[in-house]
Symmetry: C2
Subunit: 189 residues, 2 copies
């Protein structure tokens, strides 16, 4: 029931929130999504973390015992310009590569499944120590997995096949701009 | 932090699960979604219930105190046939109407927002005591709200403007069949 990977992610998130308040990738994406909603550009939300309830006081609405579950899908999905959008966002402290173990196998399967159905699906990876953010489409992710036995994607692969997301003022992580350039010929909706 | 409406829903869900195992609307929809995924028809998931964490033992991955939050979006979303699909599902024990108070105002706003962006969005309402299930598009829901001061939608409105979802063997609630008829001219993908 308790996944070590999930625990690690929660621990890391907690630490990041304290040491680097408002600057971690998840916060940047949540703020971008809020910006898109306020400006009626896109409706993309972070999914709540799935929880296994064990002991609940329904009278008080209080959860007294519960555990984190492994998510079966990605963290973010929604709609932009008539298209279903679905992605996962991860940070890494490595300067040279992104370990595929950061993404669950069923999350990769999910990205591929929705991509096959016509979704705009991708991953966003932040290299913390390089201060670089990349957008990598599921197609490119799939290609890498197909052609490589390596368990991590070298940064050069992101630089060559991905798109760097430059940090802007507002929103800091404007991934919809990348989607516009890649899927809509640079036209804003 | 604790919404009475949410508590009520959780209480009801709990009771339904015990008294009517495997037969409530949420279960039927979850099973339909599983059927669609297994058969590579659609990838639609129920979103986890949002939780406000108060006390967590990250070492054990154990949540020791948390509360239910009001969801900001609908329960279900995903992709079918290249289209973003988004909906809310509710049961009512009334034989004559569906009280709009069952759906949060921001959930209705969300349905309208995504519909304006090109989503296939709708509500599914089960009239428990009539054993009738209806699919009502956001367009029709919006029309009703615009033209009526009533706080509940009479069953006749569902019968006239909605589509009855007949109970089948598998999946019991085949709402994709309704989507096919309404949005794709009856052609299966």
């Amino acid at each position: 029931m308790i996944s070590k990977n999930i625990l690690l992610q929660f621990n890391n998130k907690n630490k990041t929130n304290f040491s680097n308040r408002g600057m971690n990738l998840e916060n940047d994406i949540n703020l971008a999504n809020e910006y898109y909603r306020i400006n009626d550009i896109a409706y993309i939300y972070k999914k709540p973390t799935p929880i296994k309830l064990v002991d609940v006081d329904y009278k008080l609405g209080k959860i007294k015992e519960a555990y984190f579950k492994t998510p079966s899908t990605t963290d973010y999905n929604g709609i932009y310009n008539g298209k279903y959008v679905d992605f996962e966002a991860k940070e890494t402290n490595s300067k040279t590569s992104f370990a595929l173990s950061n993404i669950h196998k069923h999350q990769i399967d999910h990205l591929i499944n929705v991509s096959n159905k016509g979704a705009i699906s991708f991953i966003i990876v932040r290299f913390n120590k390089l201060n670089e953010n990349y957008f990598l489409s599921t197609e490119n992710l799939k290609e890498f997995i197909k052609n490589n036995k390596r368990k991590s994607i070298p940064i050069d692969f992101f630089r060559r096949y991905g798109t760097m997301i430059k940090i802007k003022y507002s929103p800091r992580i404007d991934y919809i701009e990348v989607i516009n350039n890649l899927y809509f010929g640079g036209n804003k909706s």
